[in-house]
Symmetry: C2
Subunit: 261 residues, 2 copies
Amino acid sequence: MRWIRFTAAGKTAYGILEGEQILEVAGDPFRGYERTQRRHALAQVKIEVPVIPGTFYCAGLNYTAHVIEQAQKRGVAPELPKRPDIGYRANNALIAHGETVVIPADASEKVQYEGELVVVIGKEAKHLTEKDALSAVLGYTIGNDVSERTWQRSDRTLWRAKNTDTFKPMGPWIETEVALDALETVVRVNGRETTRFATNEMLFGVATYLAAMTRYLTLHPGDVVWMGTDGASPDLRSGDVVEVEITGIGVLRNPFRRASA
Amino acid sequence: MRWIRFTAAGKTAYGILEGEQILEVAGDPFRGYERTQRRHALAQVKIEVPVIPGTFYCAGLNYTAHVIEQAQKRGVAPELPKRPDIGYRANNALIAHGETVVIPADASEKVQYEGELVVVIGKEAKHLTEKDALSAVLGYTIGNDVSERTWQRSDRTLWRAKNTDTFKPMGPWIETEVALDALETVVRVNGRETTRFATNEMLFGVATYLAAMTRYLTLHPGDVVWMGTDGASPDLRSGDVVEVEITGIGVLRNPFRRASA
């Protein structure tokens, strides 16, 4: 099942996406819903961020090649994370499928994409085991963890490197039927493929992360966990269009534009 | 004016606190409200976290003495932050005034308080100047940035060191009339004063932080910014009661209890 959050005629609602048709619901997939008689053509609605999370989790370094490449670029020895220590991103930066990533005028040329699998939590959960962890998941969507590498190195936190307004595209919708091992992440810039990797070949997988996290914290419906990225990105320029596809989920497409000074 | 969020007879609402009386409102201080005829005695309600933030910002190291003491404990040279790089905390960890901080069974003895001024944002704001920054502030409350120092050193992120469930007491209410320079932060453990500092003697003050942040990000009504702490805390034990008072705002009181293994 595909959950989509959308705006039509000035009203934002959740719906179930079937092909190119949206069946609007009353309520939402987290606290309960009822189907309505309202139908919308996908092409006629504004797609919204699929959920505004209560807490916005992000795994950061979670693929071997990405850790090695990032270390090489900085001229330091790569160090693989030893444990699934979860990190955070910020809601101010979220934008929907189709919306524009605005690169600040004073950003360097080192603005890059990171295509990521996003876990959407469906149930309140604590003390999950690896075996039952996926039962807390409603479904999966796609994130682009846009990063300015100069700020990522210079600043004490990731605030503007990764949480500048518009730097966190997420969507286009939530797919509930996913075979993690079958997923492939493919990134295209202006239609040309630039990155491809097996989505589930993570250092620490989804179940491992959720079990580790819930030893100390309660997950709540609507929380999201971005699972990190593999490979490297070219530097993006004003006018570029980035598509992050995860096979079986969908395509998250966003244009990039540099603000004038 | 004091804004309080509370539950009475199973219903959570905002109210205006006048002395020991709460005047319940319909709506909230962020999107608009109307006074109602309902009155409650403060002593008869359950005090709630004053706001669940959209984004939970935290300044981290923002007082000279605290930076030096933390560095000395780690045996490294103190390094004062050069810029107001904002950090983050997580909503899962929030608890209200009076609620219990639960120390996980496997935490070390190094569980400590950090008494902090909390800025509550009242208006959407970007590109604030230092001069107009405080116009985006609804008011101020109090936070206790509870920290497990062993995890703070060992982990790649602050997730369980600072964002374990219950590690972020905030409250008891939002005070809108505050003279920042007059504030004093006083922390007591079991009634005995253990820390006292001038709240506004920060490395980077409230207006400086808000102006710097809003160069890159939009603040939204209900966002909170925790401003860091000064001084050091003793190690807290199961059964301790910690009070963080900021003069003119109120007292945030929370008991600490260690979970059984």
